[in-house]
């Protein structure tokens, strides 16, 4: 193997790792929602795309850097997620899976086509000054935007970890996830906790969208792809596990980047789906999932 090849491989891996952090943040939202409520958010990629559009619009019309519009988008997503859970999803919590699936499918259809109706089918990207910057570490070159996005994703994941382990509400949510009946018995307002959880999950994916727009331009058609990608990541990492989602994100990010280098680019998601099938069969609870969480 030539020196050049090894270098480009290392380059692809680092690129995959950086993108993978943003993937991980996106998947974190899905994982949190499923882990607590046992509801699979089939509208996840659609929410991601809305986050990307909001961030794009803030930059396009007000010149706001995505890193600064991100907190606002996260707050908006939290509010919308909270209301969505309260109004639509709560009545479906104990319904059969196929009914939940159809409900969220309807939401997804509405969201993605609203994007299409408002913004149109054209691809929308942003041009940041930092897009041409890069950091060098030895022979490796890191795109500045990817580095910034990955750092932001790590910070947000850290905040989330703090929320779930150090705050009263976060602990209460985990308690409700572990033992629904017990949480009711000790007087926790589980409905409210569920709404907060959905809000937090939505905020994660909104933030991930705001970061992703600095790396890839957005079209409405990306939505279904991101939903699938988020599924693959959380299954590989372990549905309901936060570290699993991040690890899965990194793994898929790297596998996509490496597959894109070694194989035809169109084959790169085949790699991810192959990985998903293997994990489902050998370790269906995912890499970091607990056995009983299945």
């Amino acid at each position: 193997m030539s020196q050049d090849f090894l270098l480009s491989l290392a380059q692809a891996i680092t690129k995959g790792l950086l993108t993978g952090m943003v993937y991980g943040l996106m998947a974190l939202g899905l994982s949190v929602i499923f882990g607590v409520m046992r509801v699979v958010n089939f509208a996840h990629g659609e929410m991601m795309v809305v986050g990307m559009y909001l961030s794009w619009a803030a930059f396009e019309y007000a010149g706001i850097n995505p890193l600064f519009s991100l907190p606002v988008i996260a707050v908006i997503f939290f509010g919308v997620g909270y209301v969505l859970q309260r109004g639509l999803i709560q009545p479906f919590i104990n319904r059969p899976e196929h009914q939940q699936f159809l409900l969220l499918l309807a939401v997804a259809t509405l969201v993605v086509n609203a994007c299409l109706a408002i913004v149109g089918p054209d691809s929308r990207g942003i041009q940041l000054d930092s897009q041409f910057d890069s950091y060098e570490l030895g022979p490796l070159v890191f795109d500045a935007v990817r580095v910034h996005a990955a750092i932001a994703a790590v910070v947000i994941a850290g905040l989330l970890w703090f929320f779930f382990t150090r705050t009263r509400i976060g602990k209460a949510i985990r308690a409700a996830a572990d033992n629904h009946m017990g949480a009711l018995v000790v007087g926790l307002d589980v409905r409210k906790l569920y709404a907060i959880t959905f809000g937090v999950g939505a905020a994660c994916v909104g933030a991930a969208g705001a970061l992703m727009i600095t790396i890839v331009p957005v079209t409405p058609f990306l939505a279904a792809e991101y939903t699938l990608l988020a599924f693959v990541i959380v299954i590989v990492g372990g549905l309901g596990s936060m570290t699993g989602a991040l690890l899965g994100g990194l793994l898929i990010g790297v596998s996509e980047a490496v597959a894109g280098l070694l194989l035809e680019p169109s084959l790169k998601s085949m790699f991810s789906f192959g990985l998903l099938i293997v994990v489902l069969l050998l370790r269906p609870q995912g890499l970091m999932g607990r056995k009983d969480s299945r």
């Binding site: 699979v40 639509l88 009545p91 319904r95 899976e97 196929h98 009914q99 699936f101 159809l102 409900l103 499918l105 309807a106 939401v107 997804a108 259809t109 509405l110 993605v112 086509n113 609203a114 994007c115 299409l116 109706a117 149109g120 089918p121 409405p220 279904a224 699938l228 599924f231 693959v232 299954i235 549905l239 035809e264 169109s266 084959l267 998601s269 085949m270 789906f273 192959g274 998903l276 099938i277 489902l280 069969l281 269906p284 299945r294």
Partner: protein, 323 residues
């Protein structure tokens, strides 16, 4: 079934058989869509509605069936009536693999559904890069105008209408027989409580395998019909997740696990779809039709979560003996 229901069913059948004589081209094409969705919905219903196994990757079987029959026809001149056996065999093998892996490792619910999606996507990307099948450029069947060749399934809409009508009637009868059979009872037992079924001696694994393979085989037939009706196949649409989801809608909206659900759901959804196309054509806003469609799905799932048919059947005074 009450006499009233039987009379209605007979009247419906007479109407459907006579329809091409008095319906125009557009109405007939809509009716073809209804029957197609009723058929694939019923095929999917066997797996989810009867046996309780959620598949969101049924496009895999339809796509495989279509590609195999179309490929044999265009590459080797083997007609669809012979090719259909190979197509069904391919789908049965695919269903068997998905089922064996999923059920052996006891994946259930969402996890099984994701496995089915993964296999469909995997196959889609494979066909995208497979030259024999035309790759992402697609596979095309030769269009011959003015012929009505039932042997090679080359002909006009009326011929395809009768073929899909026969398929829809056939699958309806088959599903009724299945439900009455021992296997059907086993399926319902598994759907309601797989562990209890296992405990009383139901061969759960093999019953689930039969559900997935029968469903896959019947779905492949729809795929063959679809390929010859539209004369083209693209991996992006034939194996798309959207195609799989489309197949689940009629039975869920109509009433999961019921015999009439898929048909009622297909009528409701196709009707709404055509209506929304008409309305949104006035406005020229992209995605408007889908927005209406999404709203309709939302309203139905919120207010009739068990489907339209059980509610409608009670309203019409038919006895509801479907489970």
């Amino acid at each position: 079934m009450k006499t009233r229901a039987l009379v209605t069913l007979a009247a419906l059948l007479v109407f459907l058989v006579a329809a091409p004589a008095f319906l125009g081209g557009y109405a007939l094409s809509v009716l073809i869509l209804v029957l197609y969705f009723a058929y694939v919905g019923q095929a999917w219903n066997i797996m989810m509605g009867f046996a309780g196994q959620l598949s969101l990757g049924h496009a895999l079987y339809a796509g495989l069936g279509g590609y195999v029959a179309a490929g044999l026809y265009t590459h080797y001149g083997i007609g669809p009536w012979a090719g259909v056996f190979v197509a069904v065999a391919a789908a049965v093998v695919a269903g068997g693999v998905v089922g064996a892996l999923g059920f052996r490792f006891s994946l259930a619910g969402v996890y099984f559904a994701l496995l089915t999606i993964a296999f469909a996507e995997f196959t889609r990307i494979g066909f995208d890069n497979w030259a024999w099948a035309g790759g992402s450029g697609g596979m095309f069947l030769k269009v011959e105008r003015g012929v009505s060749d039932l042997v090679n399934l080359r002909g006009g809409p009326t011929m395809f209408y009768y073929v899909i009508l026969a398929m829809a009637v056939g699958i309806f009868v088959l599903c009724r027989l299945l439900l009455e059979s021992r296997l059907g009872r086993y399926w319902l037992a598994i759907r309601e409580d797989a562990e209890a079924a296992q405990a009383v001696g139901v061969p759960v694994f093999w019953c689930k395998m039969l559900a997935v393979t029968i469903s896959a085989a019947l779905t492949a037939l729809a795929g063959v019909w679809n390929a010859f009706y539209y004369n083209n196949l693209f991996p992006e649409t034939a194996f798309a997740m959207g195609r799989s989801i489309e197949m689940t809608l009629s039975p869920i909206i109509g009433g999961l696990g019921t015999l009439f659900g898929p048909l009622v759901g297909a009528v409701v959804l196709t009707g709404l779809g055509e209506l929304f196309t008409d309305i949104s054509d006035q406005f020229h806003i992209p995605g408007l039709k889908q927005i209406f469609y999404g709203l309709a799905l939302l309203v139905i799932i919120m207010y009739r979560p068990a489907g339209v048919w059980p509610w409608l059947a009670a309203r019409l005074g038919f006895t509801e003996r479907d489970k």
